[in-house]
Amino acid sequence: MEITDIIRQENLVYAKSPLLTDNIMHYCPGCSHGVVHALIAAVIEEMGVQDRTIGVSPVGCSVLAYNYLDIDWAEAAHGRAPAVATGISRLHPDKYVFTYQGDGDLASIGTAEVMHACNRGENIVIVFINNAIYGMTGGQMAPTTLVGQVTATTPYGRDVKLNGFPMKITELLAQLDGTGYVTRQAVHTPLAIRKAKNALRKAFENTKKDKGTSFVEVVGTCSSGWKMTPAEANRWMVENMFPKYPLGDIKDI
């Protein structure tokens, strides 16, 4: 059997979601953002809510997400996406509203906004990409940077005396009564990706069941910031990030 016999429309089993635009993503080779974008696109497509979903992309590597997912988007100031999403969600209760934030955006400058949006139990989904670094600006330390981890602003490894401790923001948010579903996922293997997609699907469905804010952290890699190949980055993530940021559902009321 020739390859050309296999490659036929009727034999198609997997293709890029039509919700992903044709724009080439600016992300570095192997970056987890691209995988999470594809998952969100697939979830929105399967739920058939492209015309009722509004995304909020704050400053960070993923601010340009609005060039890749074919839905309506609001670009937000650094750290303020949960507030922008609150404004949209409160005035469009029928819409699916989600933010797509990095660790610097959510756990550093935007800590107050994410805390209070979750505390109010806004009916939104917060997608939080934790790669322990500021990617867009060239690899500086983030609140989730691990002790001893080398970054552009911790050239000798993060020192708790100087920079404090890595922040487990997701566990903090799970303490707030306003959050309903809080989970930590990863996208480094096919199995992890399938789990992450189910988690995202559940998060989106939850916002219509008045169960409070859905929060999906995705522990991801930043091969350029970590100065590793994508494969090495995945291994380093498993060995170093997962012990500090264990995967799995943290809260599910």
Binding site: D70, D72, A74, E75, A83, V84, G87, L91, H92
Partner: protein, 355 residues
């Protein structure tokens, strides 16, 4: 009614969709009134107390990006916190209303009224070449009128509009004729009025909408800036507003806005009683500044006194407009102190007539 309460009432009646606020003296009554009135039961209007002024202005950004009538209010220090949000709103060409009840600064300052935020309001307190359209109410009636007018201008120019009041206007009580209630916009209204940009969910028949002020390509960003500047020229041409009292035969002119204008009305009366032909030109829009009428007055009078509860900020715009044709001086008490009409008359005599 009290100025601040009228803002709340006017917001409900003009079909405002969302108010996002934060407590700060001297304007907390606006949110208190809204919470008491519970407009969500009546019109469905959302009222939300945010965790900070920064969060509040970003909630306004979210609501405005949906083509809805969104507003916030604060006082000087809070408005300083909102500057980044305001320049994002201007950069994304999003209409909204921001009420600033000014208090004495700088820093924590005082809770007494002042007008020392003129620069911040009219020259743009945030980064980049942008302006807010700034309306300066001088009465509780104008506090009512400028809410509906503010939203109208905001959507006309797709630009944030600021109501620059001060503690006096916000806290004082006066008779007021409230506007007739207007229903909130339906989704169909928004589709008709703002369908080409509002975030309403990407339909089959249209491209996705993106509310953003980000443009990495500097040539495109320059073109966008030209577009903004053209918008401001339009504002100057069509919506610069002012009022003139006893100016026709005036030898001397007071130029003042807001509560200072009220004080100058009395000063004009006192001058006239002493045989000094004085008049008052009151800017109603601080941006766009009423250049033409000030220019014209400059050619007619022997001298102009700009009266502001600040160290002199609007006076610069007056000088720019007058361009040296006649002397322009500034008089003001600041730090929250309110001048008396008599002081204003003395200042005119000393700084202009006697000079």
């Amino acid at each position: 009614m009290k100025g601040n309460e009228v803002i709340a009432e006017a917001a409900i009646r003009c079909g405002c969709d969302g108010y996002f606020g934060y407590p700060i003296t001297p304007q907390s009554e606006i949110m208190e009134t809204l919470m008491l009135r519970e407009p969500w039961k009546e019109t469905g209007m959302v009222v939300l107390q945010a965790e900070s002024e920064i969060a509040a202005i970003n909630m306004v950004y979210g609501a405005a990006s949906c083509g809805k009538k969104a507003m916030t209010s604060s006082s000087s220090p809070g408005i300083s916190l909102k500057q980044e949000g305001l320049t994002y709103l201007a950069g994304a060409e999003l209409p909204c209303l921001v009420v600033d009840v000014v208090r004495g600064g700088p820093g924590l300052g005082t809770i007494q009224p002042a007008q020392s935020d003129y620069f911040q309001a009219t020259k743009g307190g945030g980064h980049g070449d942008y302006h807010l359209l700034v309306l300066a109410p001088a009465s509780v009636q104008e506090m009512n009128d400028f809410v509906a007018l503010g939203f109208e201008l905001a959507f006309k120019y797709r630009n944030p509009v600021m109501i620059l009041a001060d503690g006096v206007i916000g806290q004082m009580m006066e008779k007021v004729q409230l506007a007739e209630p207007v229903p909130r916009w339906t989704d169909a209204d928004i589709e008709r009025l703002s369908g080409d940009w509002a975030l309403t969910g990407k339909k089959e028949r249209r491209q996705r909408h993106i509310s953003t002020s980000l443009e990495l390509d500097s040539y495109k960003q320059e073109i966008f800036n030209h577009k903004l500047q053209a918008k401001y020229r339009l504002m100057e041409a069509n919506d610069a507003r002012h009022e003139e009292l006893s100016c026709a035969d005036a030898d001397y002119l007071f130029i003042a806005y807001g509560s200072s204008a009220r004080i100058c009305q009395k000063a004009v009366q006192l001058c006239r009683e002493q045989g000094i032909k004085a008049g008052l030109l009151r800017p109603i829009t601080l941006y766009p500044f009423p250049k033409a009428p000030v220019q014209a007055a400059g050619r007619r009078v022997k001298g102009i006194l700009a009266v502001e509860m600040s160290a002199g900020q609007m006076v610069e715009d007056v000088r720019l407009a007058v361009n040296g044709v006649t002397p322009v001086e500034h008089f003001g008490r600041y730090g929250g102190v309110i001048p008396t009409p008599e002081e204003v008359v003395d200042a005119l005599k000393k700084q202009i007539i006697g000079a």
